[in-house]
C-alpha cells in the first residue's frame, strides 16, 4: 500500500540521474513536466518528447519496445498521465516485453493545470496496481539511495518493469524542447533507423 513516507526527491535530479546511464536506451517522457525534465537533462534525438497525448505514454513505449527488442525502452509518464491510461498497465502486464520500463515521476499533482492533487495524493498506489496487473518487477522509490540501488531495474533486469518515483511538488523552471511533432518523429526515426527511416 501507499506509505506515508516523507517525499524529498526533486524531479530534475531524478530524471537527470536516470538519463545519465541511458546508453542506447530509447526514452519516452510524458507530456508536461517529465518532458521538461528530460529537456533539462539534455535534448537527445532518441528521446521522443511528448507535448500531448495524455494517457498514451506507456503504450507508445510498449509499441516501441515490441519493435526494438534489443534496446531498453524507458517511459517516463507523470502520475496524471499514468492514471489516465491506467488500463495500459493491464495490457503491459499480460503482454509486456522484457525490455520495457515504465517509471512514473509521481509528484501527486496535475502540474500543468495548477498543481491540483491526483489520486496518488489520496492513497492510490500505482506500484500496487502494476503488481496486480502481473508486472513482477516493481518498486516505489523515495530517496536518492533507493534510486541508486534501483538503477539495474532501469537498464539491466529483465522486465517488464514498473517503478513509481515519489518526487516533491516544488516548482521548477520550464525547459522546453522542440515541439513540432512531425520533426520530433523524423529525428527519432532517423537516429534509430538511419536511411531506412525514409524508405
Amino acid at each position: 500500500m501507499a506509505s506515508k513516507r516523507k517525499i524529498v526527491l526533486e524531479r530534475r535530479e531524478v530524471v537527470a540521474r536516470i538519463l545519465r546511464d541511458r546508453g542506447t536506451a530509447l526514452v519516452v517522457p510524458g507530456l508536461g513536466a517529465p518532458t521538461w525534465d528530460a529537456a533539462a537533462a539534455g535534448d537527445h534525438p532518441l528521446t521522443f518528447q511528448m507535448w500531448g497525448a495524455m494517457g498514451g505514454t506507456a503504450m507508445i513505449a510498449l509499441g516501441l519496445a515490441l519493435a526494438q527488442r534489443e534496446r531498453r525502452v524507458i517511459a517516463l509518464p507523470g502520475d496524471g498521465d499514468m492514471l489516465m491510461g491506467i488500463g495500459s498497465l493491464a495490457t503491459i502486464g499480460t503482454q509486456g516485453p522484457a525490455n520495457l520500463v515504465v517509471a512514473v515521476i509521481d509528484n501527486e499533482r496535475y502540474g500543468e493545470t495548477g498543481m491540483q492533487e491526483t489520486h496518488t495524493a489520496r492513497g492510490v498506489d500505482l506500484e500496487g496496481i502494476a503488481r496486480a496487473c502481473g508486472i513482477r518487477k516493481t518498486a516505489t522509490l523515495y530517496n536518492m539511495k533507493e534510486l541508486e540501488a534501483a538503477m539495474p531495474l532501469f537498464y539491466k533486469t529483465k522486465g517488464p518493469t514498473f517503478i513509481n518515483i515519489k518526487v516533491t511538488a516544488n516548482p521548477v523552471p520550464n525547459v522546453l524542447p522542440p515541439r513540432d511533432g512531425a520533426w520530433l518523429k523524423h529525428r527519432f526515426r532517423q537516429a534509430l533507423l538511419g536511411d531506412l527511416a525514409f524508405e
Partner: protein, 176 residues
C-alpha cells in the same frame, strides 16, 4: 432467423494482405467480426498480437511501433471510435501512419439500439479528425480495400480507416 453472413473468406485474405505489406504489430479490442483475423494473427509467432483494454491504447502503441520501425494495424469495432479521438491529435500533429480496420455496428439490421449512435456517427467523427475513410459493404471487396488502405497509410503516411459494413460481418442476433 439467423442473419449471420455466409462463412467469411475475407479474413484470411486480409491477413495475407497485411503480411504481404509487412505489418508486424496487431493491436485489437476483441470483436466478433474480427475474430477469425485475430486468431490468424495470434497463431503467428512472428507477430505481436496485443489485446487492449481500450481502443485508444492502440493508437499510442502503433505510434510507438512506427517510431521503432515497425508497421501495425488496429482492429476494432465502430463502438470504439469515440475512445480514440483525443489520441488522433497526436497522429495528425506527428503525421504518424495509422491503419484501422473497423467493423461496423449500429447499421445493417442492428438489434441493439445502444450501438446505433456511435455506429452511425463513426464516419463523420473520423473525418472530423482527419482520418481517411474507405467503406466496404461487399465481402469480395474487403481484401482489395484493405490493401489500398495499407498502401495509403504506409506509403503516403496517412491515417486511414476501413469501415467494414455490417452487411459483410453479419448482424448480431441475440435470439439465436
Amino acid at each position: 432467423m439467423n442473419q449471420k453472413a455466409v462463412a467469411p473468406t475475407w479474413p484470411r485474405g486480409v491477413y495475407d494482405a497485411l503480411m504481404a505489406q509487412n505489418v508486424r504489430q496487431v493491436a485489437y479490442v476483441p470483436d466478433a467480426g474480427h475474430s477469425e483475423l485475430i486468431q490468424l494473427c495470434q497463431a503467428n509467432a512472428e507477430l505481436s498480437a496485443i489485446s487492449l483494454t481500450t481502443e485508444e491504447e492502440g493508437i499510442s502503441m502503433l505510434a510507438g511501433a512506427w517510431l521503432g520501425g515497425e508497421r501495425g494495424v488496429l482492429l476494432m469495432q465502430s463502438s470504439g471510435v469515440g475512445n480514440c479521438i483525443n489520441l488522433f491529435s497526436m497522429v495528425q500533429e506527428c503525421r504518424f501512419p495509422l491503419l484501422m480496420l473497423i467493423t461496423m455496428r449500429g447499421q445493417w439490421g442492428e438489434f441493439n439500439p445502444w450501438q446505433v449512435w456511435m455506429g452511425s456517427s463513426s464516419r463523420s467523427v473520423l473525418e472530423q479528425c482527419g482520418v481517411v475513410c474507405y467503406d466496404v459493404d461487399e465481402p469480395e471487396r474487403v481484401v482489395d480495400t484493405v490493401s489500398a488502405a495499407t498502401n495509403l497509410v504506409f506509403n503516403s503516411y496517412r491515417a486511414v480507416a476501413v469501415l467494414i459494413g455490417q452487411r459483410v460481418t453479419g448482424s448480431k442476433n441475440f435470439a439465436k
